[in-house]
C-alpha cells in the first residue's frame, strides 16, 4: 500500500516537474517507433497474417443452436406410410408419363399441380422468360430489379413453374416458408423425380397437420433454364410484379393471368435437389449456403439441418471443399506441425487442447478454402442465392442416395428419411416467432458442424493490411526528405503538398481502372457476334491504348517520362499503398473473402514494389533479390495471370490465347451475377497493380 502511494507520488512529481526535453505522448511515440521500423514490422505483420489464416482451422468452434425457439428434433415426426405412398405415387406417375410421352407442353406441370390440389393446396402456374442477368453498369448493388420485363417477348422459349400453397389452418398468413424443387419438365430425370417424391411426401403431411403457423409454398421450378433463373423469376413476380400487360401471358394454352398467389413475408426457404449416387455407404447430404457477394444465411438454419441430418436421420453431411488441397503435401506438413505443437502444448498444460489431428486440419482447410473461394467469387452456389436478394435465409440441400434411382425397395425408406429431415427443419422454422437473427451471418465453415466467426477471421486480414499505413507513412517521410534535399526552390518546400503530384497519378490510374471496368458493357454493345476470345482481345487492346493515352496526356504519370518531371517514387508508392489500403478496407466490408484473397496478393506486391533501375545499377544481391521478388509478385498479381494460376491449381490448365476467352467468360459471369469482386478487380486491384508497375519502371 505504502509503495503504491509512493509510486503515485513519484508520478505526480514527474508530471509536475516535467522533463527538460519536450517528450511526445506515448501513442505518438509508439507510432513513430512503428513507422521508423516499418520494414521489420511489415514483414512480421504480413507473416503473422498468413499464419493466422493458416491457423484458422484450429480456431474453428463447434456450431450450436443459438435461437432457443428452434428446438430442432424435439417433436416426434408425424410422417406416416400414407404420406410416403403419396410421394411414391407421384414419382410413379411421372415416370409412367415419361414412358408414354415425349416431353412437350405443360402436362407434367399439370400432373404435379393436380397432386398438389388433391392434397388441399392452392395451385397456380407461372410463366417466365429465361432471359435473365443482363449486364448494366449502373445496376450494381441496386438490388433486384423490378419492371424488367422485356418488351418484345417471344413465345419461342418460356418456362412454367408450378407452385402450391398450404395455408396454415389457424395462422394469420403473415409469413411463409418456401420449399423449392427444381425439375426439368422436358427431359425429366430419375434423380430429380426423387426430389419431387420427397417434397410431395412432406407436402401430403403438411396439408393435414394443425401445428403450422406459417404458410407453406412448394415451388417446382422449371430447371430447363438453369436452377437459378426460374427461382429468381418467381421471386421477382412474388415481390415486385408488374401490373402492366405482359405478352408472356398469351403464350401457350395455359392461362396464368391473375392467378399468382402469395403468402406473406418469406421467413426461410429450402431448396431440395437429389443428384447422383452417393459414393459413401450412407446417403450424402451436401449443404450449399453461399449467396451473391459472399452473403451467407443465418448459421442457425445450417445448424438445424445439420443437427437433424446427423443426429436424427443418419445422413452423411458435407459442405464443398477444394479436393486438390486434400492431397497437397505442404498443407499436410503444416497440419502435422500444428498437431505436434498442439501435443506439446497439452503436455505443458492439459487445458490447452487446441491441437487437432493433421487429417482434420487438412479437411478443415480444404473446406475453408472452398468457403473462402465461393464467398470471394460472389456467385451464388445454388438457387438459394436468389432468396438472399430479398433478405430471406435459404440453403440448398443436395441429397445423393446410395441406391440407383430405379430401386423401388429403398425408395420408401429414402423418402421417409428425406421428408423427415425437411419436416423437422420446417417445424423448427415454424416455431420461430421472429425471423432468423440470433446466430451469425458472417462466418466461414470448416466443416458442417464447425465455423469461424467474423471476430476470428478478421484478425488475419487486419494483420495483413496493418503494415500498409505504416509503410505509407515511413515512405512519405522518406520521400519528403529526399524532395527537400533535391529541390532548392523554397516554395516547393511546403511540406503538405508533396503528395499532390503522386496523388494525381494515382487518381488518373484509378479513373482508368474505372473506365476499363465499364468497357465490357460497351464491347457487348458492339454489333455482330464475337467469340469471347475476340472480345477479350478487343478489351485488352482498348485498355492498353487507353493506358498509353493516359501516360501521354498526364505529365508525370508515365514511368518513361524524364526524371525531373516525374514524382519521387517513394511518395508515389506511399500514396499507392494508401489507396490500396483504403480499397481493401472498403472491400472487406462489402465482401470479406474477396478482400482477404485480394490482400494476400496485393499487400506483398505493394510492399515489395521498388524501382528496378537502381537495383540493377547497384548490383547488390539484396537489392537484386528484392527486384526479382517484386517482378515475380507483379507477374502473379496480374489478374489474367492469377486466373490462369488458380485454374491450374484447380486442375484445369489453360494456356495460350484461349486463356483470354476463358478469362472473359469468367469476368462476364462475375458481372452477370453482380459480384462485387468484379468491381474490386477493376477499380482496386488493377489500378494498384498498374501503379506498382509504374514504380517498378520508375526512372529514379
Amino acid at each position: 500500500m505504502a509503495s503504491e502511494k509512493r509510486d503515485k507520488e513519484e508520478e505526480e512529481v514527474k508530471t509536475d516537474d516535467g522533463s527538460p526535453k519536450i517528450k511526445p505522448r506515448p501513442i505518438v511515440q509508439l507510432g513513430i517507433f512503428l513507422v521508423a521500423h516499418s520494414p521489420v514490422f511489415s514483414v512480421v505483420f504480413s507473416a503473422a497474417g498468413v499464419l493466422a489464416l493458416l491457423i484458422l482451422p484450429l480456431l474453428a468452434k463447434n456450431t450450436y443452436i443459438s435461437e432457443n425457439a428452434l428446438m430442432p428434433g424435439s417433436a416426434r415426426s408425424m410422417l406416416s406410410n400414407r404420406d410416403v405412398s403419396d410421394g411414391s405415387k407421384l414419382v410413379k406417375d411421372i415416370k409412367n408419363y415419361w414412358l408414354n410421352h415425349e416431353g412437350q407442353g405443360v402436362e407434367v406441370q399439370k400432373l404435379i399441380g393436380k397432386y398438389m390440389s388433391d392434397m388441399g393446396a392452392e395451385v397456380y402456374y407461372q410463366k417466365f422468360h429465361p432471359e435473365g442477368n443482363q449486364f448494366h453498369p449502373l445496376h450494381f448493388f441496386s438490388g433486384p430489379d423490378s419492371y424488367t420485363l422485356l418488351d418484345n417477348v417471344s413465345c419461342a422459349s418460356y418456362g412454367v413453374n408450378v407452385a402450391g400453397i398450404i395455408r396454415a389452418p389457424r395462422g394469420d398468413g403473415k409469413e411463409s416458408i418456401v420449399l423449392v424443387t427444381p425439375y426439368d419438365f422436358i427431359n425429366g430425370g430419375d434423380y430429380e423425380a426423387l426430389s419431387l417424391g420427397i417434397t410431395s411426401t412432406l407436402f401430403s403431411l403438411l396439408a393435414r397437420v394443425t401445428w403450422l403457423s406459417k404458410d407453406i409454398i412448394w415451388l417446382v421450378t422449371d430447371s430447363r433454364y438453369g436452377d437459378y433463373r426460374p427461382v429468381a423469376a418467381w421471386l421477382t413476380e412474388y415481390h415486385s410484379p408488374s401490373f402492366k400487360v405482359s405478352d408472356l401471358l398469351k403464350c401457350g394454352e395455359l392461362n396464368t393471368a391473375d392467378t399468382f398467389r402469395r403468402a406473406g413475408t418469406v421467413a426461410a426457404a429450402l431448396v431440395l435437389k437429389v443428384d447422383g449416387r452417393s459414393e459413401r455407404f450412407e446417403d450424402t447430404l451436401s449443404i450449399y449456403a453461399e449467396a451473391s457477394n459472399g452473403q451467407m444465411p443465418n448459421l442457425d438454419l445450417i445448424n438445424v439441418v445439420n443437427y437433424l441430418a446427423v443426429h436424427r436421420q443418419g445422413f452423411y453431411v458435407k459442405v464443398e471443399k477444394v479436393v486438390s488441397l486434400l492431397s497437397s503435401s505442404w498443407l499436410k506438413i503444416i497440419g502435422e506441425i500444428f498437431e505436434a505443437v498442439g501435443k506439446l502444448a497439452r503436455t505443458l498444460n492439459p487445458d490447452w487442447n487446441f491441437g487437432i489431428p493433421a487429417a482434420d486440419y487438412l479437411e478443415g482447410s480444404a473446406t475453408l478454402a472452398s468457403s473462402l473461394y465461393s464467398q470471394a467469387l460472389g456467385i451464388p452456389t445454388g438457387p438459394h442465392g436468389a432468396f438472399r436478394d430479398y433478405q430471406v435465409d435459404a440453403i440448398t440441400l443436395k441429397i445423393s442416395p446410395r441406391f440407383p434411382p430405379d430401386s423401388k425397395t429403398r425408395q420408401h425408406d429414402f423418402f421417409l428419411r428425406g421428408a423427415r429431415l425437411l419436416e423437422g427443419t420446417i417445424r423448427s422454422v415454424n416455431n420461430l416467432l421472429e425471423k432468423f437473427h440470433q446466430s451469425f451471418f458472417l462466418y466461414l465453415l470448416t466443416s458442417p458442424s464447425k465455423f469461424i466467426s467474423v471476430g476470428v477471421y478478421m484478425i488475419a486480414f487486419a494483420l495483413l493490411v496493418a503494415p500498409l499505413p505504416m509503410v505509407a507513412a515511413s515512405l512519405y517521410i522518406e520521400g519528403c526528405k529526399a524532395l527537400t534535399k533535391s529541390t532548392d526552390n523554397p516554395t516547393e518546400n511546403l511540406k503538405s503538398w508533396k503528395w499532390l503530384d503522386a496523388a494525381k497519378q494515382v487518381f488518373a490510374l484509378h479513373l482508368l481502372g474505372f473506365i476499363v471496368t465499364l468497357l465490357p458493357y460497351f464491347i457487348c454493345q458492339v454489333p455482330g457476334q464475337h467469340s469471347p476470345r475476340n472480345r477479350s482481345i478487343m478489351w485488352g487492346t482498348t485498355s492498353s491504348s487507353l493506358l498509353l493515352i493516359t501516360f501521354a496526356i498526364i505529365p508525370g504519370c508515365s514511368p518513361f517520362s524524364s526524371r525531373h518531371h516525374g514524382t519521387n517514387w517513394a511518395v508515389l508508392k506511399s500514396v499507392t499503398i494508401s489507396a490500396a489500403f483504403i480499397g481493401l478496407c472498403l472491400m472487406s466490408i462489402i465482401n470479406f473473402a474477396t478482400a482477404e484473397i485480394g490482400a494476400l496478393l496485393l499487400v506483398p506486391t505493394c510492399l515489395m514494389a521498388q524501382p528496378i533501375k537502381p537495383a540493377l545499377r547497384s548490383r547488390r544481391i539484396k537489392s537484386l533479390l528484392g527486384a526479382f521478388c517484386s517482378m515475380v509478385l507483379l507477374t502473379i498479381g496480374f489478374p489474367v495471370m492469377f486466373f490462369a494460376i488458380s485454374k491450374g491449381l484447380f486442375g484445369e490448365a489453360v494456356v495460350g490465347l484461349s486463356l483470354g476467352g476463358e478469362f472473359w467468360t469468367w469476368l462476364e459471369s462475375l458481372w452477370a451475377w453482380k459480384s462485387a469482386t468484379y468491381l474490386y478487380i477493376g477499380m482496386v486491384h488493377l489500378p494498384c497493380w498498374l501503379l506498382c508497375l509504374c514504380i517498378l519502371f520508375h526512372p529514379s
Binding site: 516537474d17 413475408t265 416467432l433
Partner: protein, 646 residues
C-alpha cells in the same frame, strides 16, 4: 324426498320471481339464443352462435337490470357509446370457399386479432377522450390488451370509407393480439346462463379453439326511445363463429363428411337456457340442395326434405324455410332434456358439391420490394366467378360500374407517399380521375398519429382485375419504441374493402320470424371483406448486445471527458515556457526529483540539493527494481495458482 323438495324450492322461487318480472314491466328485457350450422363446400362445418340481449328504454336513473349485463350498460352510460363492435379473431376467413356475399360472412368475417370500432354520442371534442377511456374499460373487461388502441398512433377516424358515416367514429385494430379462452370466459359471463345451460353449453374450449376460424364478436347499439324522460335502450348482440373440421373416417375425398353436434363439439345440448325467450338451432344448406325442392306442402315432401337420397338428418326439423338458394331447417331445443339430449346429426349419402356466393371482387394485399429502405403496398382486386350474377350494379351515363371502397390505416413508421398511388385496371394503368371517384387521405405524423386512406373506386362491370399500389419508406423507431420480439417485423392492419352498392341479405319469407338471428339476416348488410395483415420487416438494432453498447458508450465518454479535461486544464504556452526555463536551469532532474520525494515523505519544505553519492542512488534504484520484479512475479504466481485451481 326431502332433499328433492329442498332442491326444488329455490328453483320455484326463482321461477315465480322471473314471471313476476316478466309481467311486471311493460317491456321486459329479452334474451334469445340461436345456433346456426352450415356445411361448407370444403368439407368443413360452420357453427355460428348468436345471442341477443335487449334492454328496453327506461329511466336513466336507478336503472336495474334483470338479464342485461350490468358491465355493458354501465359502459354505454359512462362513455355514451352509440354503437360499438369488438371482435376477437383467430385464423383467416376463406372467402373463396366459405362465401363472401351473405350476411353471415359480411358481418362475421373479421380481421385477425382484435378489431374495435365505436360511435360516441358526445361532443366532437370529447370523442378521443371517450375512446381512450373505453379502450381501457374494455381491456379490463375482456382480458385483452385493447388498451394499446388508446395511443393515437393506433386508431383512426374514418369518415365514409368504413361504411358508417359518422364523424364520431373511431376505428382501431390490433393484428397481433392472440385470442384464447381468457377472452372467451369474460364474453360468456355477459350471457345470463353463461356456458352452463342452453346452446352456449356446447362451447367446449378444446373443440372451439381447434377450429380453422374462430371469431368472437360483441356488437352493441343503443335504440333511442323517442320519449321524454326515458333513456335509450341497448341491444347487445354476441356472436361466436367457428369453422370446424368434422372427424371423418371415410377415405373418399369427394364425399362430404357426416357430423353431429356431439362429434363436432364433444357435447350435447340438454335443454335451453331458461331465461331465453327463444332458443333455436338452425341448419342451413346452401346451393344445389335448395333448388331441388319446390313444394313443401305435403307431409311426405316435407319429410323428403330432411330424409332423402342425398342426406339424412337425425332429428325432424320443426319447420323448414326456403330462400332462393338455400334451405333452412329450424329446430326448437326446448323439448330436449337430460334424458333426451338434443344431438343434431347430418349424414351424407351421396357426394355433393356446391359453391358459396362470393363478393363481386376478391381482394388480396401484399408487400412489394425488398430491403430495409422502401417498399410498396399493393392491393389486388380480382373478379370472382359469381360477379356477373350479383345485383347491385350501378349504371351511370350508360356505363355499368361496380363501386368499391377501400379503407386502410398505415402505422406512422410506414411512411406512405400518397402521390405514388397507381391504379391498374385490367393491366392498363388508369389515371386517377378515370376510376377514382372519391379519395380521402390523412397523412401520418411521426410518433403522433397513423395515416389513413379512404378511396372509392368505380370500376367497369366487366373488370377482370384491378391493382392499386402505393409506395412507402420504412421509418426508424426509437430504441424504446420496439415491441417485444421486434425482429418479427411490424404489422400493417388489414384493409377493409367494402362494396357500397352491394348489400347482402337472406330473406326466408317468414312472417313469423321473431328470431333475432333471422331478422338480422334479413337486414341488408354491406358486403365487406378484410384483406390479409401484412408484416413489414423494419431495421432493428441488435438488442442482444447491451454489453457492446455499454463498452462503446463508456469508451466514447472516456475519450470525450479526457480530451475535454485536457483542453480545459492544460496550458500549452505555459508548459513550453516552463520547460524552457527548466532547460535553462540545467539541474539534475533525478536528483531534484529525489529531494522532492524525500521532502514530501518527511513533510518538510524542499531542501537544497545535497551531494548524494551516485552509488547510493543506483542501489536505491536497483532495490526498487527488484521490488517491482518480485511484485510482478508474485502476481503471476498467484494468477497461475488460481487459474490452474479452476
Amino acid at each position: 324426498m326431502a332433499s328433492l323438495i329442498r332442491s326444488w324450492i329455490p328453483l320455484l322461487i326463482l321461477q315465480s320471481f322471473l314471471v313476476a318480472i316478466a309481467f311486471g314491466s311493460k317491456e321486459a328485457e329479452e334474451f334469445s339464443e340461436a345456433l346456426l350450422l352450415k356445411p361448407l363446400p370444403d368439407r368443413k362445418v360452420l357453427a355460428h352462435f348468436h345471442f341477443e340481449n335487449r334492454a328496453p328504454p327506461s329511466n336513466s336513473h336507478g336503472r336495474h337490470h334483470h338479464l342485461f349485463p350490468k358491465a355493458i350498460s354501465q359502459l354505454v352510460q359512462k362513455f355514451r357509446v352509440k354503437e360499438m363492435e369488438l371482435s376477437f379473431t383467430q385464423g383467416r376467413w376463406n372467402h373463396e370457399h366459405w362465401g363472401g356475399f351473405d350476411p353471415l360472412s359480411s358481418m362475421n368475417a373479421k380481421p385477425v386479432g382484435v378489431e374495435l370500432w365505436a360511435v360516441f354520442d358526445v361532443p366532437q371534442s370529447q370523442v378521443d377522450t371517450s375512446w381512450k377511456n373505453l379502450t381501457h374499460a374494455l381491456s379490463g373487461l375482456f382480458c385483452a390488451s385493447i388498451n394499446f388502441l388508446e395511443s393515437s398512433t393506433s386508431y383512426a377516424a374514418p369518415t365514409w370509407g368504413f361504411g358508417t358515416n359518422s364523424d364520431k367514429l373511431r376505428y382501431g385494430s390490433l393484428p397481433r393480439e392472440a385470442v384464447c379462452t381468457e377472452n372467451l370466459t369474460p364474453w360468456l359471463k355477459l350471457l345470463p346462463c353463461r356456458d352452463k345451460d342452453g346452446i352456449s353449453a356446447l362451447m367446449n374450449r378444446p373443440s372451439v379453439y381447434r377450429g380453422f376460424y374462430h371469431s368472437q364478436r360483441l356488437h352493441l347499439s343503443t335504440v333511442e326511445s323517442g320519449q321524454e324522460g326515458l333513456g335509450s335502450g341497448i341491444v347487445l348482440e354476441q356472436t361466436l363463429t367457428v369453422v370446424l373440421q368434422p372427424e371423418t373416417t371415410s377415405v373418399e375425398t369427394n364425399m362430404q363428411p357426416s357430423w353431429s353436434l356431439s362429434s363436432l363439439f364433444g357435447r350435447k345440448v340438454v335443454g335451453s337456457c331458461v331465461l331465453a325467450k327463444s332458443s333455436n338451432v338452425y341448419l342451413q344448406l346452401e346451393g344445389r340442395l335448395g333448388h331441388e325442392s319446390k313444394n313443401v306442402d305435403t307431409e311426405i315432401e316435407a319429410h323428403k326434405l330432411w330424409k332423402n337420397a342425398d342426406f339424412d338428418l337425425s332429428l325432424k326439423p320443426d319447420r323448414v324455410l326456403r330462400e332462393s338458394s338455400s334451405l333452412l331447417f329450424i329446430f326448437d331445443i326446448d323439448k330436449s332434456s337430460d334424458s333426451e339430449p338434443f344431438d343434431l346429426g347430418l349424414t351424407w349419402k351421396l357426394p355433393s358439391k356446391w359453391s358459396c356466393q362470393q363478393a363481386p371482387l376478391q381482394a388480396t394485399r401484399f408487400l412489394m420490394g425488398s430491403g430495409n429502405e422502401r417498399g410498396a403496398i399493393a392491393i389486388l382486386l380480382k373478379a370472382t366467378e359469381s360477379q356477373e350474377k350479383l345485383p347491385g350494379r350501378v349504371v351511370t351515363d350508360g356505363r355499368c360500374t361496380i363501386k368499391a371502397n377501400i379503407f386502410q390505416i398505415f402505422p406512422w413508421y410506414v411512411k406512405v407517399y400518397y402521390h405514388t398511388l397507381q391504379i391498374f385496371v385490367d393491366q392498363q394503368q388508369k389515371t386517377d380521375c378515370e376510376v377514382l371517384k372519391k379519395i380521402n387521405v390523412s397523412p401520418s405524423t411521426d410518433k403522433v398519429s397513423s395515416g389513413m386512406l379512404e378511396m372509392m373506386l368505380e370500376l367497369p362491370c366487366e373488370v377482370k382485375s384491378a391493382a392499386i399500389s402505393i409506395e412507402y419508406d420504412k421509418g426508424f423507431l426509437h430504441i424504446d419504441e420496439y415491441p417485444p420480439d421486434a425482429n418479427q417485423g411490424f404489422d400493417i392492419p388489414s384493409a377493409l374493402i367494402s362494396f357500397p352498392s352491394h348489400h347482402a341479405s337472406l330473406d326466408f319469407q317468414e312472417e313469423l320470424s321473431k328470431s333475432p338471428l333471422l331478422s338480422s339476416f334479413k337486414e341488408k348488410s354491406l358486403v365487406r371483406s378484410y384483406t390479409e395483415v401484412l408484416l413489414v420487416p423494419l431495421t432493428t438494432p441488435d438488442f442482444s448486445m447491451p454489453y457492446n453498447v455499454i463498452t462503446i458508450t463508456c469508451t466514447i465518454f472516456a475519450l470525450y471527458f479526457g480530451s475535454l479535461l485536457n483542453v480545459l486544464r492544460r496550458r500549452i504556452g505555459e508548459e513550453e515556457r516552463f520547460l524552457k526555463s527548466q532547460a535553462g536551469k540545467k539541474t539534475f532532474g533525478l536528483k531534484q526529483l529525489l529531494s522532492r520525494l524525500t521532502a514530501k515523505i518527511r513533510g518538510r519544505p524542499i531542501e537544497p540539493p545535497s551531494s548524494d553519492s551516485p552509488a547510493a542512488q543506483s542501489s536505491f534504484l536497483s532495490s526498487k527494481l527488484i521490488f517491482k520484479i518480485i511484485l510482478v512475479a508474485g502476481a503471476a504466481a498467484a494468477w497461475q495458482y488460481f487459474s490452474t485451481d479452476n
